[in-house]
C-alpha cells in the first residue's frame, strides 16, 4: 500500500473507514514512519483543539437574558392591557345601553352598524358633490365675470340712477336664484341615497 492521502488519514482518525480499510492503514503505519508521524501529529493537534478552554462567561448571564426577555415583552403586554380596557369599556357601555333601552344587544349592534354605514355614505356623497361644485364654478365664473365686465363697460354714464338700481336688484335676484338652484340640486341628489 502506498502512503496515506490526507483524506484517508483524516477518515482513519475519525473512525470513518470500514474495518478492512482501517486494518490496511494500520498495517501501513506499522511499516511507514513518515505516515506514522503524520498521523501522530494530526491526532495530537485534534486532541489539543478539542480541549481548548471555554471562553469565560460573566456571572448572571442567564438572568441578564431573562431580564431582556421581560423588558421586550413589557410593551406588548401594556398594549394588550390598553386593548383589554378599551374592549371592556365598550362592553360595559353596550351593556348599559341594552339595559337602558330594553332592546336586545344584537338589535342595538345592527342599528349602530347600519347608522355608521349610512353616515359614511353621506360623507362620501357630500365630498363628491363639493368637488363637482368647485369644478362647475371653475368653468362658469370666468365667463360670467367676463360678460359682466363687458356689459358694465357699455353702460352709458348718462342712464338714470333709478334704472341702474333696478338693474342691480334684478342681477342680485338672478344670482340668488342661481345659488338656490345649486342648493336644490344638491339636496335632490342627497334624497336619492336615503332609505325609504
Amino acid at each position: 500500500m502506498s502512503c496515506l492521502s490526507l483524506d484517508r488519514l483524516y477518515r482513519y482518525l475519525d473512525g470513518d473507514l470500514v474495518p478492512e480499510e482501517a486494518a490496511e492503514v494500520e498495517a501501513h503505519l506499522a511499516a511507514c514512519a513518515r505516515c506514522r508521524g503524520a498521523v501522530e501529529e494530526r491526532r495530537a493537534l485534534s486532541r489539543a483543539a478539542s480541549s481548548l478552554p471555554d471562553l469565560e462567561l460573566p456571572a448572571g448571564f442567564s438572568e441578564a437574558v431573562l431580564a431582556r426577555i421581560v423588558r421586550a415583552e413589557a410593551p406588548r403586554k401594556s398594549w394588550l392591557a390598553i386593548l383589554g380596557i378599551g374592549l371592556g369599556a365598550l362592553g360595559a357601555s353596550l351593556g348599559t345601553l341594552v339595559l337602558a333601552s330594553g332592546q336586545s344587544a344584537t338589535g342595538l349592534l345592527l342599528r349602530f352598524g347600519r347608522g355608521s354605514l349610512q353616515s359614511l355614505q353621506d360623507v362620501v356623497l357630500l365630498v363628491l358633490k363639493f368637488f363637482k361644485l368647485i369644478l362647475l364654478a371653475g368653468k362658469i365664473l370666468p365667463d360670467l365675470a367676463g360678460t359682466a365686465l363687458r356689459g358694465l363697460s357699455r353702460v352709458p354714464g348718462s342712464l338714470p340712477a333709478e334704472l341702474l338700481a333696478f338693474a342691480a336688484v334684478i342681477a342680485l335676484l338672478a344670482m340668488s336664484s342661481l345659488l338656490f338652484g345649486f342648493r336644490r340640486r344638491l339636496f335632490v341628489q342627497d334624497d336619492i341615497g336615503e332609505d325609504p
Binding site: L6, E40, A48, L55, L57, F61, S62, A72
Partner: protein
C-alpha cells in the same frame, strides 16, 4: 424536566424557568462558538444574548423533529453571517474551492524533526491553535469550531449549513490542515 423537548413545551406554556434552564444548558457552547467567530468579547456576549432572544421569540415555530442544539446553532450562525456581511467581511461559500485547495494538501512531515505535538506543551499548542484559528477563513473556522470545540457531529453540521455530509467533512479536513500549516509557519 431535563429533556430539551420538555423544556421547550414548558416554555411555550409560559414557564420562564424552563427557558432559563435552556439558557443555562446552551449559553457556554454558544458563547464559545460566537466568541471565536466574532473575536470581540462584548460583541460575542451581545450576540449570545440575541440568539436566546430570537429563540424565545421564534419558539412557537420550532419543530421538535430537529435537535434544539442544532436549531440554536443555526440561529447563531445566521447572526454571525449577518455581522460579517455588515462588516463587509468576505463570506465565501463552502461550495467554492478555497485558495489552499488541491495539490498543496499533501502529507508534510519534515524528516528528522519532531512533530508539533511532541515539541510543545499542550497549553502552548492550544494557544497557538487559538491564534491560528483567528486567521482561518471564516467559513472554515465555523466548521472547525463546531467540530472540535462544540463537538457537533458531521451530520449536525451538514444539517445546519444545508450541505452534504461529505462536503462538510472535506472542509473540516481542510481547516485542520490549514491550522497545522500555520502552526508550522509559527514554529
Amino acid at each position: 424536566m431535563n429533556d430539551d423537548q420538555e423544556l421547550v413545551a414548558a416554555t411555550l406554556k409560559g414557564n420562564r424557568t424552563a427557558f432559563e434552564m435552556i439558557i443555562r444548558r446552551y449559553q457556554q457552547p454558544l458563547f464559545n462558538y460566537i466568541g471565536r467567530m466574532v473575536g470581540e468579547r462584548e460583541l460575542a456576549l451581545d450576540f449570545t444574548q440575541d440568539v436566546f432572544l430570537r429563540a424565545y421569540a421564534c419558539l412557537p415555530s420550532y419543530r421538535p423533529q430537529f435537535k434544539l442544539s442544532t436549531w440554536l446553532f443555526k440561529i447563531a450562525s445566521n447572526l454571525v453571517i449577518d455581522f460579517w456581511r455588515k462588516k463587509k467581511i468576505p463570506t465565501m461559500s463552502l461550495d467554492q474551492p478555497f485558495e489552499d485547495d488541491g495539490e498543496s494538501y499533501c502529507l508534510q512531515v519534515p524528516d528528522g524533526e519532531l512533530p508539533v505535538g511532541r515539541k510543545y506543551e499542550l497549553a502552548e499548542i492550544r494557544a497557538k491553535i487559538d491564534r491560528a484559528l483567528a486567521r482561518l477563513p471564516a467559513a472554515l473556522r465555523e466548521l472547525f469550531v463546531w467540530r472540535h470545540i462544540n463537538g457537533l457531529s458531521y451530520e449536525e453540521m451538514a444539517e445546519i449549513k444545508g450541505l452534504p455530509v461529505g462536503t462538510v467533512k472535506n472542509k473540516v479536513f481542510q481547516a485542520k490542515e490549514m491550522i497545522r500549516r500555520r502552526l508550522e509557519e509559527e514554529i
